[in-house]
């Protein structure tokens, strides 16, 4: 992966975000999920997946868009509203991409699954596409970095960790969550998209924790270098 000098310059600018800020941002997103969970009640995802997913999307969407629009790249040239608009636009696009991936991987396409699939892909879009859309906009280099896994090996900036790691976690979690679906255990949660959603949320949370760890490690490395 060629290291782009432009990217590093911008990265230096963006490292102003402290680990504490990152933790706060993650905590806010987490709070959205928690509110949705408490509103829906226990086991709502299994009994009525469409409703639970809708609640999750409704609670999470404004939080994610606001938080990541505040963290936008290049805040001098790009207003908050513009970043938020990018996020709003990114929501359906990301949902479309996620839905395509899910259907290609075998998600059912029957009419009775449509609403659940739509809400699920909106949620996945919030986990993956929307934060990147808010922060990066149309910067190709950043998108390319976000897609690749090289950030785990080469040092990059804090926002990149904050976006990439949880979204990778959500995708991998959803992928792993699909494994029990064909089994003959005859449990209600084996239905699409319940266990995939569980997997995605779990992966997303793990990704958040991992990104915080990476950020702290990164800060320490930077400090050592500075000394």
């Amino acid at each position: 992966m060629p290291y782009d000098p432009r990217g590093s310059a911008m990265g230096a600018e963006a490292t102003q975000i402290s680990a504490l800020t990152a933790a706060a941002a993650h905590a806010l997103c987490l709070a959205g999920l928690a509110v949705a969970h408490s509103l829906a009640g226990r086991g709502a995802l299994v009994s009525d997946p469409a409703l639970a997913l809708r609640l999750l999307v409704v609670c999470e969407a404004p939080l994610v868009i606001v938080v990541f629009s505040l963290l936008r790249r290049d805040p001098k040239h790009c207003s908050f509203l513009k970043a938020a608009a990018r996020g709003l636009l990114g929501l359906p696009i990301g949902a479309l991409l996620n839905a395509f991936g899910a259907v290609v991987l075998g998600a059912p396409v029957g009419i009775k699954f449509w609403t659940a699939t739509i809400y699920w892909s909106l949620l996945m879009s919030l986990f993956t596409f929307v934060p990147a859309a808010c922060v990066f906009g149309a910067s190709k280099v950043d998108w390319q970095n976000a897609l690749s896994y090289s950030i785990y090996f080469t040092s990059s900036d804090v926002v990149e960790y904050m976006i990439s790691v949880p979204s990778h976690g959500a995708v991998i979690g959803a992928w792993l969550g699909a494994w029990p679906m064909p089994l003959d255990w005859e449990r209600p949660w084996q239905e699409w998209p319940i266990c995939v959603t569980y997997g995605a949320i779990a992966g997303h949370l793990i990704g958040m924790v991992l990104s915080l760890i990476l950020i702290v490690a990164h800060r320490r490395r930077v400090r050592v270098k500075a000394d």
Binding site: G101, V104, K140, A178, L183, W185
Partner: protein, 1022 residues
């Protein structure tokens, strides 16, 4: 379409590498192991694998040891502990033998004559209902007479559980001998041989019964000399549902009137054929059931009129196996094993009965029941237990005597299996049977049950002798009855498990052979990689950035590990199609992400590249005439992957497949319910598309040679023949198999095999080793000769490969079920798109990733064509297309071709892929080494499938060894193992086709080069 045998693109992309090509070659020669050694090691490893596999099969699927000889008078004496010498009873004439048996048995014969009516494939559910409920109204109305017998308590019906494999011949064998055959009997089903073990029919024959047989000729093959009269019908024409049964019923009147037989066997095949054609819900099912009911009515009417003449006749209606919802059988689902045993005779008549209770029994229980009802010794290898309800006409002590005889026979079998086991010891030592201690070992438990049974029998006899208080006597005899049936059930169960006993050390050594072979294959491939990377590292530093792992590579390794892990779970084995689809589409999604990423990257550095490309193009302008355009629309890379992904998703939706979720609706089920003209038009569209694709790909060669035109014409005619065959073959009709369709298929086979043979042998000769386009440039820095050779060889391999692929597709369209036409086309599209994608993105994925991706596609397609890991999904009907006389080998080959159509298609497609792939290392300009070109060409496409298959085979063998006592070992794991073995055979076949095609082509080109350079030298010297 950007598909073109691309030999020269190398020069475009690799111009930076040209400088050091001279010393690169030297280093490469030193680093990479020689081709011959590689091939030798590979063959050795494969042979080792074959040896291990055959040893394992020998150990795991034992041809069950059966006791030789026939039961005689000794079966009426209690078995002794001393080893019985080979004392044979003197051969008595039938009459004396019969009276001897009657004397010894102390039980009168219950019946004199037997009518055994076998209805092939009739599920018991159709007659007896399921789960205590009567069958559906439609079924009740279809068989009015049988139902009236059942409700009138004049018949008793059982759900007789058939042991897997639920295929006719093993089931017939087990019904007459009472033994559960080995699992591999299914392989012998098509090769029926005379049955030599002890069995009911031979026993009946010995006591002078006259046997008459009408129906399935399997009986005649099993018992060639036994029948007094016989008329066999062949089960060969699976599509015929009328004639087979008419040929049985036409003798019925005369046979029922005749008095010279004592046992009549009727075997009706029509119902099984109906199932194979249309499934359980076929429109032909109800008429067929009516017909069977009519036969039962006629036979019963005839035998009841005989009954007045004091000839007591037993009518037994049985089926050898059931059928799945779609009408297949072979597996071990409830639907397949639920076969019928219906007894109609005086001893089962009762004043009160509940005919639709779920009465479960085993199919083998038929043997001792019939033997004891007819007063003959129970066959030696029987593990069945008699059905007490059939002996209701006997007194209590006579009933106990029949149970005792059954126990003695089982005891003899037990002693044979466990030489230390001895009944006398049990009876003597453990007289205190009342102590309810919990026995630990199997021996002790058997002993305990046996002594209990014998003791209670004795006490019941004593009570009957001493006083005649009938209540107490009945109580005692009931205790004895229960004790006997406890023992018999337990012993029978143990014996049937015993049939699956395996020698552990053989299995372990077989597995270690396989592991060695697996590791050596992996070692060989490691050597190949090592040689490659060394030659790369030394000569172009650009490759250094490629050193670390890519996402797709890591995913493939993880996917293989996940797949191997999933083999250990019976649920995943049952639903393997999900895993393959999931892994393959994830892999291609990763390809998609990588492509998008490379597009993003490209657009960042477009300017630099464009300048470079411009320089390049100016340098190599002569090459532009026959190379892939370098600045092609980047979108094409995306389209190819999208096509693969979407086609894969449609394939997945086409057949829901699997074992547990068969009832889910899918496209194939919807289409079957539709009009058959839709299916036919889909078939014709697929044939047309295949023909068109072949024409387009031949056109890409831009060679207007006789062979190419001839091939095109022959493919065209083959396509027309397939269409004709589709047009003529009638689905869902009962017309006798059309002979014209057979000859059409035969003409197809002839034309296709001639064209393929011609292509393979001639194509290396027709492409020029010397190309005109390259000649003017021979003065430039490039090496024209080299380019020319690769050009020719790639064209030739391309022609061979595309011919293989397209003819294979036509063959599949001919043989596969009509519903599978579109899936075959989709797999072909996936194949072509992958080849195009890989030829467009030469540097994006490593070569081994490409080969593995194609192999994954093949396995996904295998399940996409509706195959499962149950033997029931094998398409038997297609295996007889174009065969005019019965041949085990031919129909076996056709069955293999149908089942493994998709993996083999992808292996054939790999030949095409070899011709368009990047050959990243080039030989020296001045020294062409054909062996190294060959090595480059086939090393990975041959080795990787072998390695992956070896990993799957070895790990599954270990799983099977670990699961050998699992509940599902015979129903889930063993059928899967047969599939794994067949996949291994398929891999060998595919790899050897790849290797031989490439080797032959290279050999011819090397010969032609030598001749050419010899001539040039001669010409120059003159």
């Amino acid at each position: 379409m950007g598909l073109r045998p691309s030999c020269t693109c190398v020069f475009l992309f690799g111009s930076g590498q040209q400088r050091s090509s001279g010393d690169r070659h030297r280093a490469m020669g030193a680093a990479s192991p020689s081709g011959a050694a590689l091939a030798g090691w590979t063959v050795a490893a494969v042979l080792l694998q074959v040896a291990g596999l055959s040893l394992f099969i020998y150990g795991f699927f034992p041809v069950k040891p059966t006791l030789p000889g026939f039961s005689g008078a000794e079966s009426y004496r209690a078995p002794s502990c001393a080893p019985v010498g080979g004392r044979e009873d003197p051969a008595l004439p039938p009459d004396q033998l019969r009276s001897l048996y009657r004397e010894l048995s102390e039980v009168p014969r219950v019946y004199d004559r037997l009518v055994l009516m076998v209805i092939d494939g009739l599920p018991a559910e159709f007659v007896l209902g399921r789960g205590g409920k009567p069958p559906s109204k439609e079924m009740m109305e279809a068989m009015p007479y049988t139902q009236s017998l059942l409700t009138g308590c004049r018949a008793v019906g059982y759900h007789a559980k058939a042991a897997p494999p639920t295929v006719t011949m093993p089931r017939l064998k087990s019904m007459v001998s009472g033994a559960i055959g080995g699992f591999l009997d299914v392989a012998l089903n098509f090769n029926t041989q005379a049955f030599l073990d002890d069995n009911l029919l031979d026993q009946l024959h010995r006591v002078g019964y006259k046997l008459v047989m009408l129906g399935d000729e399997t009986w005649i093959k099993l018992f060639p000399t036994l029948f007094h009269r016989q008329d066999g019908v062949s089960s060969f024409y699976v599509k015929d549902t009328v004639e087979v049964d008419f040929n049985v019923s036409r003798h019925l009147d005369s046979e029922l009137a005749a008095k010279d037989w004592d046992a009549l066997v009727l075997h009706y095949l029509g119902l099984d054929h109906v199932g194979h054609i249309g499934g359980r819900q076929s429109v032909l099912m109800t008429p067929k059931l009516k017909e069977m009911d009519d036969v039962i009515r006629r036979v019963h009417a005839a035998v009841t009129s005989l009954h007045e003449n004091s000839e007591r006749t037993l009518l037994v209606v049985i089926s050898d196996h059931g059928m799945t919802e779609v009408g297949n059988h072979g597996g071990s689902s409830y639907e397949e094993t639920d076969s019928l045993a219906l007894f109609i005779g005086h001893s089962v008549e009762n004043s009160y009965c509940s005919p639709y209770d779920q009465k479960e029994t085993l199919q083998v229980d038929l043997t001792p029941t019939l033997a004891l009802l007819f007063g003959i010794p129970i066959p030696k290898n029987n593990i069945g237990v008699l059905l007490p309800e059939l002996f209701n006409s006997l007194s209590d002590d006579q009933k106990l005597r029949t149970l005792e005889l059954n126990s003695w026979q089982i005891l003899r079998l037990l002693q044979e299996q466990k030489p230390a086991f001895c009944s006398e010891n049990c009876v003597n030592l453990k007289d205190d049977f009342r102590v309810d201690m919990l026995p630990e070992s199997i021996d002790e438990k058997l002993c305990h049950l046996l002594s209990k049974a014998f003791a209670s029998h004795r006490s019941s006899l004593l009570h009957q002798d001493s006083d005649f208080r009938s209540v107490e006597a009945t109580g005692h005899s009931r205790t004895a009855l229960n004790a006997y049936s406890d023992f018999l059930r337990y012993a029978s169960e143990w014996l049937s498990h015993r049939a699956t006993d395996k020698p552990l050390y053989v299995l372990v050594s077989a597995i270690s052979l396989m592991i060695i072979s697996c590791f050596s294959l992996a070692g060989i491939i490691f050597c190949v990689f090592e040689g490659k990377s060394q030659s790369q590292v030394e000569h172009n530093s650009e490759c250094d950035s490629d050193k670390h792992w890519h996402l797709d590579e890591a995913f493939i390794l993880m996917g293989i590990i996940l797949y191997v892990a999933s083999l250990g779970s019976s649920s995943f084995v049952e639903e393997e199609q999900y895993i393959w689809h999931f892994l393959t589409s994830t892999l291609y999604l990763i390809f998609l992400i990588k492509t998008v990423q490379s597009m993003l990257k490209d657009s960042n550095s477009t300017l630099v590249q464009r300048a470079e490309a411009e320089i390049l193009r100016r340098n190599n302008s002569y090459l532009t005439s026959y190379k892939l355009t370098p600045g092609q629309p980047i979108g094409r890379k995306l389209y190819t992957i999208l096509i693969i992904l979407v086609a894969g998703r449609i394939l997945r939706a086409w057949h829901q497949g699997g074992i547990n979720w068969v009832h889910f609706s899918d496209i194939s089920k919807i289409l079957t319910q539709c009009d058959s003209s839709i299916v036919k038009s889909l078939q014709i569209i697929s044939v047309l598309v295949v023909m068109m694709l072949y024409a387009v790909s031949l056109n890409l060669l831009r060679a207007r040679r006789m062979l190419v035109i001839g091939l095109w014409l022959s493919h065209l005619s083959c396509g027309l023949l397939v269409m004709l065959h589709i047009w003529k073959s009638q689905v869902n009709t009962s017309v006798l198999m059309n002979h014209s369709t057979t000859s059409i298929a035969q003409i197809f086979y002839v034309i296709a095999s001639i064209s393929i043979t011609c292509t393979v042998f001639l194509s290396p000769w027709i492409f020029p080793i010397h190309s005109k386009e390259a000649e003017p440039t021979s003065s430039s820095g490039f090496n024209p000769q080299k380019a020319i050779h690769l050009h020719g060889i790639n064209h030739s391999v391309f022609l061979t490969g595309i011919t293989y692929t397209m003819f294979w597709c036509l063959l599949q369209l001919l043989l596969q079920q009509p519903i599978n036409a579109i899936p075959v086309l989709l797999i072909l599209l996936q194949l072509i798109s992958s080849v195009i994608h890989f030829s467009l993105n030469k540097s994006l994925h490593r070569q081994w990733v490409q080969v593995v991706a194609m192999q994954f596609l093949g396995m996904t397609g295998h399940f996409g064509l509706g195959n499962t890991n149950s033997l029931a999904s094998i398409d038997v009907a297609g295996a007889f297309i174009g065969i005019s006389s019965y041949s085990t080998v031919l129909s076996g080959i056709l069955m293999f071709i149908i089942t493994y159509g998709s993996p083999l298609l992808l292996y054939l497609g790999m030949v095409v892929y070899m011709s368009v792939k990047e050959s990243d290392d080039i030989c020296t300009p001045w020294q062409i080494r054909w062996s190294s070109i060959l090595g480059k060409m086939i090393a990975l496409p041959c080795l990787l499938p072998l390695v992956i298959n070896s990993i799957a085979l070895t790990s599954y063998t270990i799983v099977l060894l670990l699961m050998r006592n699992h509940l599902f070992v015979w129903s889930v794991f063993s059928p899967k193992y047969l599939y794994v073995c067949a996949t291994t055979v398929c891999t060998y076949a595919g790899v050897s086709i790849i290797a031989m095609t490439a080797a032959y082509t290279c050999a011819v080109f090397s010969f032609r080069t030598r001749v050419f350079s010899f001539r040039t030298r001669k010409y120059r010297s003159m």
